[in-house]
Every structure is written in structure tokens, then in C-alpha cells.
Amino acid sequence: MKYILKRVIFFLITLWAALTINFILPRMMPGNPAEVMIAKFQGRLNPQAISALEIAFGINTHESMLAQYWDYLGRMATGNFGISVSFYPTAVAQVLAQAVPWTLGLAGISTVIAFILGTLLGIRVSWKRNSASSSFAVPIAFFLNSMPYFWFALIVEYVFAFVFGWFPLGGAYSSSSGLSGLALVWSVLYHAILPAATIIITAMGGWMLTMRNNMISVLSDDYITFAFAQGLPEKEIEMNYAARNAILPSFTGFAMAIGFVISGVLLTEIVFSYPGVGYLLYQAVLNIDYPLMQAIFLFITVAVLVANFIADIVYVFLDPRARSGGE
């Protein structure tokens, strides 16, 4: 329980740090970039919106930094992220809400699949370390892992959507109107296959290499030799003795790994014009829509924190040593 409490506190501190970064960044930059943004949208925004933006980015204000900060935290706590300038006059929260389900669906499912596949492959190649397929799989994983995700997405899109025409070039569902029920579900799945495959293939390499290293490290542990001495079947040793222990560091190193995966998801969405958070972030960047950017950054941070938190819980569940207080 103490372990979980510690994680909750860390969760809150990190959230606060992300909020603070959002607050400080525009105020720190020479020649407040928000001012440039406001100037650009001058004609299109009404006076109220402009003054709201000015407050949000600390322009033309006589309030002290601390008072601004306090106001800002209050606004964030109430979910008031302001108005999106590029989707004016829609509120940022609303714009974001439309993109979130797509990303959660795409990223969530493909990350889980990539984790499972990569981990299983990692177990296999380390167990059969000298087999031909292992010496084949490891260099490939290295290559996949060092690939720029967006570039792989481009190639996948080019080959399977453009050259072969097997899949749509982009989007999340067919734009032809009147789709409903099963047809809609099918259309959504059909559009998700290529981006999902991109994420799975690129993320899998990383998980596989991690698991392989963990396994190799665990295989020289004494309880493995002891398990062999007991004449346990290989499958039992491989899964319940080696893999069961080797998977633990995958959970403690989850934070960094998930960061990479998220980057991959964002860029993949951009390449496939998939209407999720990544694509939205790209549009926000193109249109210098700072309020939207900040909200997206916050959302992604929270999503990663939640994912980490889940990983922590699973870890506690898997490692009896973490359960009884110690680490």
C-alpha cells in the first residue's frame, strides 16, 4: 500500500510539473510568442477571446507572476483550457474531446498488442539463443527500433495504400455519408489497420530487445539452474521461472518505453491524417494554436502518467517483494 501511495504522490508532483511547464514556457521566451499568435488572429477573434488569451499568456497584465500562476492553476483545475484559436470559437476542451477517443483506441490497443508480441518474441529468442531464427530476429529488431517511426509510417502508407491500394491512404473512417452499424465499425477497423500495424511493428522491436536482455540476465540466475536441477519441464522453466522474473524490469522501465511509443503514435497519426491527438497537435503547431498545444501536452502527460500508474499496479501484482512494502 505504501508503494501505491508513493506512486500517487509522484503522479501528483509530475502533473504539477507539467502544468508549471505550460505556465512558464510562454512567459520565459523573449518576445512573448503568444503575442505574435494574438496579432495573427486579431481580426478573427472577438475582444473577449483576446483578453482571455492575454490573461492566459500573461500579456498586458499588472498582476504579479504569483497571482497569475494561482489563477492559472485554478483555471486548469476547473478544466478551463481556453478557446482554440484555430478552431475558433470552439473551446479547447471540446476540440480535444473529439480527438481523444481515436488516439486512445489506436494507441491503447496497438501498444498492448506490441507489448505482448514483443515480450513473447523476446522470451523466445533468448530461450533459443543460438537458433537461426534468433540470430535473424535480433538484428531486425535493432533496425526497427532505430527507425524513425514517421518514416516507417510513410513507407507503409506508400506501399500498402498507394502502390497496392489495399488500404485507405488516411483518415479514421470512410467519408461517404450514411455509414452506420457494422459497416461503420468495419470502416473504422479498416482505416486503423495500417496505422496500428506501423505502431505495433515499430514498438515491438523495443519491447523485444528489452525482454531479451532481461531474460539473458535472468537466465544466469541461480533459481534457473536450480529449476533445471529439479528436472522441471523446459516450458515451465521458460515461462514461470525465467520470463515471470524477466518481465519485471519491463514494468519498472515502462516510463521511458511508453514515452517512445507515444512519440511513435503521434507521428504515425500525422502521417495517416488520423484524427487523433497527434494529428491535432500537428495542426495546432501549424496554426500556432498555443492554447490547444498546451492542452494536448497536458493530456498526453496525464495519459502517460495513467499508463505508468497501471504498469505500477501490475508490477505490484507481479512482484511479491513490492507488495510487502520493500522495493
Binding site: D222, A229, N240, R321
Partner: protein, 321 residues
């Protein structure tokens, strides 16, 4: 007497990409049913490699290079992996160093004891439980620890659990590789006595590996001394203790405080054992030996020969050269 284990000309060691070490060199010995054989030597003399080698448990890069191992007239070097797996634990089991993390940290003691049984004999859940309790009882561990995880046990308790597991299927041979080394002296002695009692009670044979000769003289039937991968002396314990023949054995005995009698000044053996990755010409102990015969000991490696009944020694001082 019936030999349970016959080891002949065993060569084993570790194979790396660019070099090889011969940690066990031409070792031959026999072990009778129910016998308690102690194997002693400094760390790095190959005694653990021998222990793992005789039950074919050397993990890569460890490897048996040549030799034969017969267990109950079955040639362990020739049988296939599955038959070997089935023999393990049922015929021979092993207790590792207490300092090692031998128990799987993520499984309950119960599961680990069950596993060591259920892949060899068919038992129902309740039979397994009964047997597990019986075993813990045997090594004086309360059966409430069945549902504990290894990290919740003390070092001594963990080692007892491992010993209990080793006895789970009534094996004919239990190999113990420094099973008490990491424990404190009091616990060490107690566990050792318990092991010996269990042996008398259940009748299994023991090969006990240690670097601490004094630990064994009182309880083992016979003792083998290893140096640089070879057995250089082997004899019934009393004989060896009363009259060590090899200069190395003599030195080893006097580098530990005696169990009985007056404390005397210890004198260790000067020098270091040879590098086991190279060929050794002559007697491996030659550079450190106080009684070496130049022109003999540095030329030819002495063979292990029976000088008196059951007293074997590999030393040119006794082979008439």
C-alpha cells in the same frame, strides 16, 4: 560395496569464444550407496564445477569435455535430455550455496515444492500438500511458511526449504555445494548435523562440497581434496585427518583452526593456484610445494594411486620416483 556413482576421467570447464578453462581435469572417483563424501579445496579449484558436472548440470559456458559418468549403471553422458530430466530430482538432487538465490522470488514456497514433485510423480493436490508439510517438518520449518514468498524467509530458513525440496522424492544422491557457507556458524553446524541425521534416517548418499575442511572431518565418511581441477588425495575421513599425505592437504588442514585440541598458529600456503585456462606441466602444486623434488615434480604430473587401502594420493613423494 555397491557403487552408486562412477566417474571416470572427467574433464570439464568453461568454453568462451576466445579461450577455454579446464576446471576439472581427469577426475575419477566412485561413490557408494549411502556414502557421505566430502570434497574440499580452495575456491576456484574446480570443486563446484565437478559437483555440477557429475549430474550434467553445467550451464553454458560450462561444458563437459570428456569422460564418463555412470549413475546406477546408467551412463549419464549417453542418455537423452528427456530421460535425464526424468532422472533429475528423483534419482539425484542438489542443494546450492545458501548465498545463492536458489528459490524463485515470485513463486510461493508451496508452489515451488509442489513443482519439484508434480513433474515427476502423479499426486493429487491434497497429497502434495501433505508431502510438502511433511518435508518442512523434516527440516524443522513451520508449515505456515508454505504460503510465504522466499524474501519473507531468513537465510537459514531458505536453505532448509531447499534441503526439504532436495529430499522431496527420496533421491539416492544429494549433492550439496557449500550449502551452509553464507550462514552464520551456529546455524551452519546445526544444519549440518540435521543433514547427517536425515541421511542416516533416509539412507541417501551425499557429495558435500566445501572450502572449509574442518566442517567435514567429523561427519563425512570419506574426503577428497581437490587442487587445480584434480583430486590430489582421497581417503576415509579419519585416515586423511590423522595422516594427510599430500603436502597440499597438510597445508590446507593447518590453515583452519582445529576443532579439537589446542589452538595452534595457522600457517596458510604461500602462493596462488595455477591458471586453469592454460596447460599445466608437472604437478600443479609444484610452485607452492615445500617438499617438491626438482627435476621430477616439475616434469611429470603424478597420478592418483592407492598407497594404502582406500587411501589415494597423487604425489611423487609416495610413488617411488
Amino acid at each position: 560395496m555397491d557403487a552408486l556413482l562412477k566417474v571416470k576421467d572427467l574433464n570439464a570447464g568453461y568454453e568462451f569464444t576466445n579461450f577455454k578453462t579446464w576446471a576439472v581435469r581427469n577426475v575419477s572417483f566412485e561413490l557408494n550407496k549411502g556414502e557421505f563424501l566430502g570434497i574440499a579445496g580452495e575456491s576456484g579449484c574446480g570443486k563446484s564445477t565437478l559437483a555440477f558436472g557429475v549430474i550434467r548440470l553445467l550451464m553454458p559456458p560450462g561444458k563437459i569435455f570428456s569422460g564418463s559418468i555412470e549413475f546406477n549403471d546408467i551412463d549419464l553422458m549417453k542418455i537423452d535430455d528427456e530421460s535425464l530430466r526424468k532422472m533429475r530430482w528423483k534419482e539425484f538432487s542438489m542443494v546450492f550455496q545458501a548465498s545463492m538465490n536458489v528459490l524463485n522470488p515470485v513463486l510461493k514456497v508451496r508452489t515451488q515444492i509442489y513443482n519439484s514433485i508434480k513433474y515427476h510423480v502423479n499426486m493429487t493436490e491434497s497429497e502434495l500438500e501433505k508431502r510438502a508439510k511433511e518435508l518442512l517438518n523434516l527440516v524443522n520449518v513451520s508449515s505456515k511458511y508454505l504460503d510465504a514468498y522466499p524474501h519473507q524467509l531468513s537465510g537459514g530458513m531458505k536453505q532448509r526449504v531447499v534441503i526439504a525440496m532436495a529430499l522431496a522424492l527420496n533421491p539416492k544422491l544429494v549433492i550439496m555445494d557449500e550449502p551452509t557457507t553464507a550462514l552464520d556458524v551456529v546455524v551452519q553446524r546445526r544444519i549440518l548435523q540435521e543433514i547427517d541425521e536425515l541421511r542416516r534416517q533416509l539412507g541417501f548418499a551425499i557429495i558435500f562440497i566445501t572450502h572449509d575442511l574442518s566442517l567435514l572431518v567429523e561427519i563425512s565418511d570419506s574426503l577428497a581434496i581437490m587442487y587445480a581441477g584434480q583430486i590430489i588425495e582421497k581417503a576415509p575421513s579419519e585416515k586423511l585427518y590423522a595422516k594427510p599425505l599430500h603436502p597440499y592437504t597438510y597445508g590446507l588442514m593447518h590453515s583452519f583452526p582445529p576443532l579439537v585440541g589446542k589452538r595452534q598458529k595457522l600457517h596458510g600456503i604461500a602462493g596462488r593456484p595455477p591458471d586453469l585456462s592454460s596447460d599445466i606441466k608437472g604437478c600443479p602444486f609444484y610452485p607452492r610445494c615445500e617438499k617438491r623434488i626438482n627435476g621430477v615434480c616439475d616434469i611429470e604430473n603424478p597420478k592418483l594411486v592407492e598407497i594404502e587401502s582406500e587411501h589415494f594420493v597423487a604425489c611423487h613423494l609416495y610413488d617411488g620416483k
